[in-house]
């Protein structure tokens, strides 16, 4: 695999861009693999990469029903942060943050991880106290966090509504300076290229239609490209986990819901941070192309359609205008939906399953993108060793039975309310 660098760009420019190689091979399936990862999204590709990179397992195929990165990794609002409260979440997302900080160089692919800082506004003393609790936990776990008062928020983001007529006046904010955004497609492509470089077969347009079993053991998969044998199978198809899980006989505490995302016309720099509204459902950042990328709440009913409805569009527009009055005349360019695996506690599920040789990675709710590298790292470890990586010990399937749930919001077991 030819390294990417300023020099390679220079050299190729001189040869009319004719000598670039494919970023990853157009692989067709072998009869069998040591490990098959189902799902060519961020998590699946990262898992394949770390299986090879960390565990030396290179006889690996990633099976993708469409094109790599076509699922949530390419549909999200690209926010990366590690501001989690609960024991089990805090450390995992911070580990992920550390992997992000080195990702471009590790993959030799610029994923444009930009640590522009994220703030969430607070609108009452009580809310700011709640944020302080979170910030305290972050600091005590070695994570950067700050609490800003109203003036400090104003200095940072003067374009928010600090007027007397604000419906929910800004009281302060919680700020994480290392939080930021990344170029989502590049994450999928970077992992695909790096995994391919380690010999992983990335097989697109290959839909898994069933599982091959020997007793309680998975021995391969049925696909639209035929049967493929496997020593172990990892499932990383968030959004469609239930559909594939059912084919394997898994019963899961997951519902699929649509989360909409929005982008505006490209503008000169306006929003330098990731800004989230603490009084309602709205968060925004500005991409390197100049579009304001934003989102809000789930549409709130089970859905596999990658689109939402006008109700949430209006609610998000209202919240956007309330927090950031100048956004009102900026124009929405596109909105779309992603299908989220929602779990009853809004925390993910990564674990071995009751079926031998089958490993599960799903239930990412709307937090999957930021988890991509840590998820891949820990899932690869779990597949390679057959035992959960310590960082994902809390993410087992049995936690709902035992009560060890990790409910950051305390919203309760109705997945759509998380």
């Amino acid at each position: 695999m030819a390294r990417y660098s300023a020099f390679s760009i220079f050299r190729n420019a001189l040869s009319g861009q004719k000598n670039w190689q494919r970023a990853w091979r157009a692989a067709e399936p072998n009869p069998s693999y040591d490990v098959i990862v189902i799902g060519g999204g961020g998590h699946g590709l990262a898992t394949a990469f770390y299986l090879a990179e960390n565990h030396g397992i290179r006889n690996v195929a990633v099976l993708e029903k469409g094109y790599v990165g076509g699922g949530n990794v390419g549909r999200n609002t690209t926010v990366i942060r590690s501001n989690y409260l609960l024991d089990g979440n805090t450390q995992f997302y911070e580990f992920s943050m550390k992997l992000w900080e080195n990702m471009s160089r590790a993959l030799n692919f610029n994923v444009m991880f930009s640590q522009r800082g994220q703030l969430v506004t607070a609108h009452s003393a009580d809310q700011l106290d709640g944020f302080s609790h979170r910030a305290n936990i972050m600091r005590l776990n070695g994570i950067d966090a700050d609490i800003l008062d109203r003036d400090a928020v104003r200095r940072l983001v003067p374009y928010l509504d600090f007027s007397d007529t604000a419906r929910f006046p800004i009281h302060g904010a919680i700020f994480q300076g290392r939080a930021g955004t990344a170029r989502h497609d590049a994450v999928a492509w970077g992992y695909a290229r790096a995994a391919d470089g380690h010999g992983v077969d990335i097989i697109q347009n290959c839909e898994v239609t069933g599982f091959l079993r020997d007793g309680n053991r998975i021995v391969g998969v049925e696909t639209t490209k035929g049967r493929i044998g496997a020593g172990k199978v990892g499932l990383a198809v968030a959004g469609h986990t239930s559909v594939l899980g059912a084919k394997a006989g898994l019963e899961l505490p997951i519902e699929s819901h649509v989360l909409q995302a929005f982008v505006t016309e490209p503008l000169k720099p306006l929003v330098d941070h990731v800004v989230a509204y603490g009084a309602d459902h709205f968060y925004v950042s500005q991409s390197d192309k100049g579009g304001l990328v934003f989102g809000g709440n789930l549409d709130g009913y089970n859905s596999y359609a990658q689109r939402g409805n006008l109700g949430v569009v209006c609610e998000v527009a209202e919240a956007a205008s309330a927090l950031m009055p100048c956004i009102s005349r900026i124009r929405l360019l596109r909105h779309w939906g992603g299908v989220m695996d929602m779990t009853p506690d809004a925390s993910p599920i990564i674990c071995p399953t009751p079926i031998e040789g089958l490993y599960l990675n799903g239930g990412w709710c709307y937090g999957g993108f930021k988890a991509t590298p840590a998820s891949g790292w820990c899932f690869a470890h779990t597949i390679a060793t057959g035992k959960p990586h310590p960082l994902i010990a809390a993410y087992g399937l049995d936690r709902f039975r035992t009560g060890h749930t990790l409910d950051e919001a305390g919203a309760g077991p109705s997945a759509w309310l998380q």
Binding site: P253, E255, S256, N302, S303, A305, W416
Partner: protein, 98 residues
């Protein structure tokens, strides 16, 4: 908007309704002591990509809880009925001790 045809109020936008989730799961009787039954009722979901029986309440309206059959792939609604009138609840009513 996802218009839902309320049997009482006619077609109304879904933001007048409160979602209540999967209606195909059976709620154990109130005094059923079986943890497994409650675990499955509260947590386990078929989550089909296709027709989904689900509860909605016309909360900004007649306040009736409804059972809606809706395709999760395209949001097309096949049927709406009052939860009290749905076969599901009738069978429950029979099982439930007075």
């Amino acid at each position: 908007m996802l218009p839902i045809e309320c049997p009482c109020c006619g077609p109304r936008d879904h933001d007048e309704f409160r979602y209540g989730g999967d209606a195909s799961v059976t709620r154990p009787a109130h005094d059923d002591p079986d943890p497994e039954a409650w675990y499955r009722y509260v947590f386990i979901r078929a989550n089909p990509a296709g027709l989904h029986r689900e509860f909605w309440q016309h909360v900004i309206g007649c306040r009736q809880w409804l059972v809606v059959e809706r395709d999760t792939r395209n949001h097309a609604i096949a049927s709406v009925e009052l939860a009290r009138k749905s076969p599901h609840s009738k069978s429950l009513a029979r099982k439930s001790p007075a």
